[in-house]
Amino acid sequence: MNMSKTQGPFKGLTRRGLMAGSIAAFAATLMLSVPSWAEKPPTAEVNTTGLAVTDDTVTVGILHSVTGTMALSEEGSVQAEILAIEQINAMGGVLGRQIQYIQEDGASDWPTFADRARKLIRQDNVASVFGCWTSASRKAVLPIFERYNNMLYYPTFYEGLEQSPNVVYTGQEATQQILAGLDWVHREKGAETFYLLGSDYIWPRTSNKIARIHIEEHLGGRVLGEDYFPLGHTSFNSVINRIRLRKPDVVYAIIVGGSNVAFYRQLRAAGLDMTSEDFTLMTISVTEDEVLGIGGQNIEGAYSAMKYFQSLDNPNNEAFVKAFKERWGEDSVIGDVTQAAYLGPWLWKAAVEKAGSFDIDKVREATPGIELTTAPEGYVKVHDNHHLWSKLRIGKARRDGQFDVIYETEELMEPNPFPEGYQ
């Protein structure tokens, strides 16, 4: 109360208030003049809302599935977030405080995600949470983050149609992943006809909706078919036959999880060879992580549209891959989402330092415009809508499970979770 009173011009100005104010002003000037690692503002100043911040530590939450069907996908994100936190700590932490993390298991079960999110926010009073992977888990925790005002850093590329002040979306929304990729395949491969495939849930459906509108209205192409399969579906022979009959220039596949393995194997068994010039497949759902399960020989030659590939050639990425392998083993594979998860703690650190406070409201206000020049994917910047500006890259799958990056957009693409004309 006292603090807020002295902030208004002359309102409730007392001698003590005046003194506190001038001391604070003096401290602020002092802070500006010393390098960031030496800053250590008092806890009462950087934490006015009762978060888990002490003079030496700040506690954050990590909320992913480490058991259940999603564990395989989410493991990389957990590893990346822990790596980022450890690196930040080694550099002196955030506002002079070492980051401690509490890890909770969402158990691939959306109500459990909600329960654990509530526990992290209400009981542990964490200063922010890095987590969630599926849209379903994000939807489950979203009202809790908004109700109790905390920040979630969400790493997965997703369908858009959402823009919460309490979430920072470090992955791409749908248009960022789709439009430039279709433009590329239209321009470079002369593709006119497309066949859209997807697993049957919100992300593939929304993505294909955007893809269809772009193909028909902007590229002047045609969609020869659009099919969806239940999650976990493993028999793709009938759709593969339809593809062979209709001969689309490009198969656009958004198949997720275990279904991928069956799909690509059956494609190859049916003689649709992606390494040849006659058959082109583009996907926005296969990263290095998925290739581990599919097998490099089964998907060789496919084009994947992502913002990050492990093979990306820049100094930031070199250092990141090296550090990741040192921490989690030589065999580690880093996919698009893992990199996006790695950005979470760094973006949070930058926002906290810009705000000079751990308070959620101040961090949220500081978030738009945050830039990272050290991101493995290159330069990133947070848009006013809490999504990242990012480039799109096309990778061609290699036999060894990595991708050759054969194209990247010149400019960063603006995130647009509610694309006009694409809904």
Binding site: K119, A140, P143, D200, R205
Partner: protein, 383 residues
């Protein structure tokens, strides 16, 4: 009046057990737990409704249903549909292509509220549906199965497949049901915020009150003539049939009651968690619900409540302490319970504590001639 005296309705042991449970839920928990934990206990109690229903169906009627999650889900979805419609007012959803319908419908290019959603604009209809929809669905299943004398393990398998079908249906029809995401972002009930601490307290006590209503109904059924017939049926179905009873009707009745209880439980979950998910409808959660009942003791009504509480508390505690190992710990506990305590927690009480407590009560209150908890036959429980 089916009971001549109160003692015929509740023995002294029953009164004691209910009183201890009430003390625990209404006094001890609210005073000792913060609102976060109390809200968790409230959610665990929503599963106790299913377990109480299973005591009647399985413990007494011998009908093992591995599909109670379906009824829990139907109740939960009925509540969630009403709350979602309230949250989807045209003002709140003005950015959508079609304002005024739930957001997930808009994403799936649905432009009109589906017919079966329309009645859920009314709270009264929703509240009735919470009980009636599961009960009617149970009646249809029960009618189809029991009239053809499908029972035992076949019935269990069929209920299990219904649970699987229901999950596939809900996930597949995402434009109508919210799909795998479930129905999320529920905010108000008649304009009253449901995500506040105060609302959590209110819902907790509503949940406990409803649970006791169900417990008293279950106790009534258990001690009435129907309860006796159920026990007889469980032991020797043919003899009961030859005595002139229509077995199927009794089975359908008790199965419907179990389903209605489960529906109320689901609705209580939706209110306390603020969303409903298809992850409660499938096979795994349905089997978990049977485990709650087994751990508590399938012949004991208060035992079912303790079973649901114990298993869920263990799940949360282990889950928070050892994120990667908790499943193994849970597995060990279940194996341990099944091997060492065939009649669950209530069995332990009946074996070791019931007699001394009885003796103590006899000394304080005088002799009690109706000791029903002890006279329930333990043998002949199959399936």
């Amino acid at each position: 009046m089916p009971f001549n005296t109160f003692k015929e309705y509740m023995s002294r042991q029953d009164v004691l057990a209910f009183a201890v449970l009430a003390l625990l839920l209404l006094v001890v928990f609210p005073l000792s737990l913060d609102i976060l934990r109390l809200n968790q206990v409230g959610k665990f109690l929503s599963f106790a409704f299913v377990a109480v229903g299973l005591v009647l169906c399985w413990g007494y009627g011998g009908i093992l249903s591995l599909g109670q999650g379906v009824f829990y889900g139907l109740g939960g979805y009925a509540m969630a549909m009403y709350l979602k419609l309230e949250a989807s007012s045209p003002e709140n959803t003005s950015i959508q292509s079609t304002p005024g319908i739930p957001d997930f419908m808009d994403w799936n290019r649905i432009t009109e509220l589906p017919w079966f959603w329309v009645p859920f604009n009314s709270l009264t209809v929703a509240l009735i549906a919470i009980v009636v929809v599961p009960a009617v669905f149970a009646y249809l299943i029960g009618f189809a199965m029991f009239k053809r004398r499908v029972s035992g393990v076949y019935f269990a398998i069929i209920t299990q497949s219904i649970a699987a079908i229901m999950t596939i249906l809900i996930i597949g029809q995402q434009g109508l049901t919210g799909g795998v995401n479930g129905i999320t972002d529920l905010r108000t009930l008649k304009g009253w915020e449901i995500n506040t601490d105060f609302a959590s307290y209110v819902f907790y006590f509503v949940c406990v009150a409803m649970l006791f209503v169900c417990l008293f109904i279950a106790q009534f059924i258990r001690m009435s003539k129907v309860g006796k017939i159920l026990i007889a049926m469980r032991g020797q179905e043919d003899r009961v049939r030859f005595s002139g009873y229509d077995i199927a009707n009794f089975k359908i009745f008790v199965f419907c009651v179990g389903a209605a209880f489960a529906g109320i439980g689901g609705a209580m979950f939706t209110l306390q968690e603020g969303f409903m998910s298809p992850s409660f409808v499938g096979i795994v959660p349905s089997i978990e619900m049977v485990i709650f009942c087994a751990v508590g003791g399938r012949l004991s009504l208060p035992g079912a409540v303790y079973g649901a509480l114990l298993v869920n508390i263990a799940k949360t505690t282990f889950g928070e302490a050892f994120p990667q190992l908790w499943l193994f710990a849970m597995g060990l506990i279940f194996i341990g319970v099944v091997l060492a305590l065939p009649n669950g927690v209530a069995g332990v009480y009946n074996t070791f504590f019931a007699r001394p407590v009885d003796a103590l009560m006899a000394r304080v209150l005088g002799r009690d001639k109706t000791r029903n908890t002890l006279t329930v036959p333990e043998q002949g429980v199959t399936s």
